[in-house]
Point group: D2
Chain length 230, copies 4
């Protein structure tokens, strides 16, 4: 049996994934010291991100070669539109109600959100369903890995508990497994000639994942839209 | 309350819709004299058409402006992927099992299928969710109108009964009503400046609907792919 | 040295190219019996076609992989924008001044013009510079072949003389040779895995060339836009 | 006469353009203290940028509404393909020959180059010729403004002299004036409903111009591709 392309991609840029796992934003989530305003900034940007992430999946469906590929991409999109986005908005409202300050996250896409979503969009217009599956994978996989790593460290009544429980749960786990199986099948159909480009696309999206946490941790907005900390 | 754009579009090219309703393919379906090979040709081409029709909806989702627009287009796509395509394939298999000859419909897209699907695709790449809703509407609406018109004339055990029942039924009816409401809302958001272009897009797609039935009735394939009647 | 892909494609669908060369529109041009209104219809539709043909080349440039590929597609576009379109418009004006009736060609794209341009556009959005070069080639090559075939048969002071002289001339000949060399180089870079799809794309565009002459000869407009002959 | 949209856009985000003019990279160019390795990093990234910048113009041509709009975008592309890119490559070779170290600029697109080019590409796929003209303008205008500001301060035999002379010269000046006139005409055709989106697109591209100089000044590559200073 052929090696899983999803697994091979995941293992292909260990340095970048090392930075992802050790990120201070996530460490502070685990210790419960992450400031509310950082979490608010993250959620505001992530909500804008997820809309474009879902559209990238729709583009993948539109650029697929067969109807089963259309269905696979549609299934990935469903999770964002029906679960992650509503969940995110609820949590954002809760964080605002708890008094989190706006550090400029509500003023529009911050530099890294713009970079990441523009990369997803332009890759999808240039590529096909397989390229889309590849660039959406770092986000999809890392959230599961992160949540599995942190779930035991976080107090059960924390603000972050619900967020983690979703990504740790069976519903998300089964969905991710299907996405990985779909990516493997798409890669199988496309043949080995695509591997090098896929590796680059996966690495770029992984770097942007790290950059997204950096941005959230520093509440890094464009200079002319930034709001200084107190 | 504003006039429904969906209704206004439907009423905007009566001559074309007249040809649609009086089409010999449909008249022969009603009288039960439509040849099996014509129906086979139709189903073969319609199956290729529906894959691109679904991808056009996916493109509409990708080019939407908000997440509710993404969801509306996704809902339209669901019906094609989950209902119409499997239903079509089953019926095609049944027609083949009944001994329908291949008049070249299996050899690839016939001229009008190519024209129609290329028009849908290129319009979607140029436009947005509203343009997509507009060009997919003639097919969606006319199938309901046609089925409602013919359902009482066709023997209940006919090959065409199941086909009609789907489009006459409440499931499809509710779905179409939602599509029309979504189109109206999209048109409302876009403002009156778009009306003239929408009217043209709707008219072109309506003409292609007529041309599609023409093609099916005459089993019109490219000359070098055609199979002559017995 | 590798076989020329441009030449291989040209030889790959002899039946279609047979219909192209023996077309009544061209035969009537040669004998001088082509009616002015047919030529007018052709020019009106060809002008709309060429705008989309040029944009297809621009899309090819946008979807190219390297800057030399961008330049090659740009060069092809230059000829349409700077030479063929202005030349076409002048000739159309002359034909109108000579009293050619409007057979509906001025009322918008006829079915085959819509089919052909939509096919070019959707192929370009799906593909890359090589796909674009492939689908624009049947038009580019066949005009040279047609003009070379007919140039000696046509009276030197005919309406059609200038049209032919352009495609027979060294300027166009050199440009076409460069396009073919560019296609060969692009195919070389892409590798043999693309050949089957290229062959299909070339065949479809070739069939649409035949259909375009059919349309022009019969002044075939959409039924609701058509103008009957006297 | 209507106000120039190009001028209005230029005046619409003074804070961002203030950062552009006072940038340390440019100040160090003027005083002759800019390190060769920073200039090399800039040129390596700018070369990758310009290829995508030219393709963005090609996309604008492909998504234009009329043939004169196609020609305008093509004209802008010509300058990049025929002048700026070859000039850039020559200068890069000269800088390398002078012994400039590679600070990772040769290893692929740095974060800001990726962000900027992805933004250009995704905007072009979503928009039309006017959106493209708007997002390419900050780069086109600022290089002229920067060069005019610095040209007198720089020693005539500096490495930077040729670079500046191009952007100060009449050839580039006339080309830029035409681009601005084309943008004004496109905005006139599109009507005032587009202004707010254009302003946002212009602001984003302007912020990315500043970020591009930041990146060059700090030789900021992805962490896993970076080369530390000596």
């Amino acid at each position: 049996m052929a090696e899983s392309t999803a697994r091979w991609l995941r293992a292909s840029c260990p340095q970048v994934w090392g930075s992802l796992h050790g990120h201070p934003f996530l460490r502070d989530m685990a210790t419960g010291t992450l400031s509310l305003e950082r979490f608010r900034f993250y959620l505001e940007q992530d909500t804008m991100y997820l809309v474009e992430y879902a559209k990238c999946m729709a583009l993948g469906a539109a650029r697929a070669r067969s109807v089963d590929e259309v269905a696979w991409l549609r299934d990935s999109m469903d999770n964002i539109v029906d679960n992650e986005l509503p969940k995110n908005r609820e949590l954002l409202q809760r964080v605002i109600d708890l008094g989190a300050r706006d550090r400029g996250g509500s003023r529009g896409m911050a530099p890294t959100t713009l970079a990441y979503t523009s990369f997803l969009t332009s890759t999808a217009y240039r590529g096909d369903a397989l390229d889309v599956m590849t660039v959406i994978m770092p986000c999809a996989v890392s959230y599961r890995e992160i949540a599995l790593e942190l779930v035991d460290q976080i107090a059960p009544d924390s603000l972050y508990t619900g967020w983690m429980e979703f990504f740790v749960g069976d519903f998300y786990g089964a969905r991710l497994a299907r996405m990985q199986a779909n990516l493997d099948e798409l890669a199988e159909r496309a043949g080995p000639g695509r591997r090098e480009l896929l590796r680059e696309e996966f690495a770029t999206a992984s770097r942007l994942e790290v950059a997204f946490w950096d941005m959230a941790y520093e509440c890094r907005q464009w200079p002319d839209l930034a709001v200084a900390p107190d």
